[in-house]
Amino acid sequence: MRVIKTGTFSDFSYNQIKTAFRFLLYMAIPLLICDDSSMARKQVARSLPDSWDVDITYATNGYEGIEAIRAGKGEMVFLDLTMPGLDGYGVLESVKSEELKAVIIVISGDIQPEARERVKSLGALDFIKKPINKDKLQEVLLTYGLLEL
């Protein structure tokens, strides 16, 4: 590798650098699936694209979810809304207030348009209706360039 001029790194964002290194080192994306239902967690895991190199962590409520994100296990998060203890809205609020780095997609049965607007205003990238399947998830991931075919 050629020596890079001092200061060049500051031209890139933290995420760009990390993405570049991930590509070089073939690092898997730390993915968090946060849902209180074990069936729902499995449905999400089964819907992931086959080509996706991810390192999956599971959380069964919002508190576990936030802990995992703080620990760097949730750069990408699939988040349920209705959960005991801290719910999905609470997770989004914590991520926002603590300025944690996480790309969050809400997967919920609460299909009220208002719920979608609320999660987006709290920083969620998008909203997918339950029950999830491979096609729905792939479509959203492609839309945001999180997956390349």
Binding site: D36, S37, S38, M39, A40, K42, T82, M83, P84, S108, G109, D110, I111, Q112, E114, A115, K130, P131
Partner: protein, 203 residues
């Protein structure tokens, strides 16, 4: 405690499909009333008739309530859905439905039936669709208005001993409207229901 039990895997699966179905029904209610519906986690367990009052969130044994029930059957699964409104809900419900006249028993009955039609259909069909069956419905019956829950639902007269009860609570944000939707599935339905859930778990 009843002898019949539901294991954690089936309870979890039933909770998740209920979660999806109650979300669809909640969305319909939100559109009808043009307000936001607060969803909570459904409560699912095998119960005896005498356990039901304890499972209710919207009403208390002392409260004055109004209720409707409707039978359903299909794909070897049968039971009854029950919707219970705390009577304090009707003032706000009438406001949200733009009902301007004086709120008498007949008017409240209409509001009750409107809510029933939206919630029962969407919720039960939502469950049926996920487990790949289709339900037929009996006529909705008003169980009673402005009475105590124990008068509406007499545990002595219940036709069942043990049943799978799903309790769904709906509240409206910024309004004093609170109701419980109960889905009571007969003991005889459970083998088939669990098979359907297994299929869903393996899919």
């Amino acid at each position: 405690m009843p002898n019949l039990k539901i294991d954690e895997i089936h309870r979890d699966a039933m909770q998740e499909i209920t979660n999806v179905a109650m979300g669809q029904a909640g969305d319909k209610l939100a559109r009808l009333l043009d307000t936001f519906v607060i969803l909570s986690i459904p409560h699912i367990d095998i119960m005896r008739p005498s356990d039901i009052v304890m499972a209710l969130q919207a009403v208390d044994s002392r409260d004055s309530v109004s209720g409707v029930c409707q039978g359903f059957i299909g794909g070897g699964i049968s039971g009854e859905a029950m919707l219970l409104f705390n009577d304090t809900s009707f003032t706000d419900l009438a406001k949200l439905m733009n009902y301007d006249d004086e709120l008498d028993q007949q008017a409240e009955r209409e509001l009750l039936m409107d809510a029933t039609n939206v919630l029962f259909g969407a919720c039960l069909n939502g469950i049926a669709e996920q487990i790949d069956v289709s339900f037929s419905f009996g006529p909705p019956l008003v169980l009673g208005q402005h009475r105590k829950f124990s008068e509406i639902f007499n545990t002595e007269n219940a036709k069942w001993e043990n049943a799978l009860v799903t309790e769904i609570n709906y509240q409206l944000e910024n309004y004093d409207v609170n109701c419980d939707l109960l889905i009571i599935m007969t003991e005889e339905s459970l083998d088939l229901l669990f098979k359907k859930l297994d299929y869903l778990l393996e899919a």
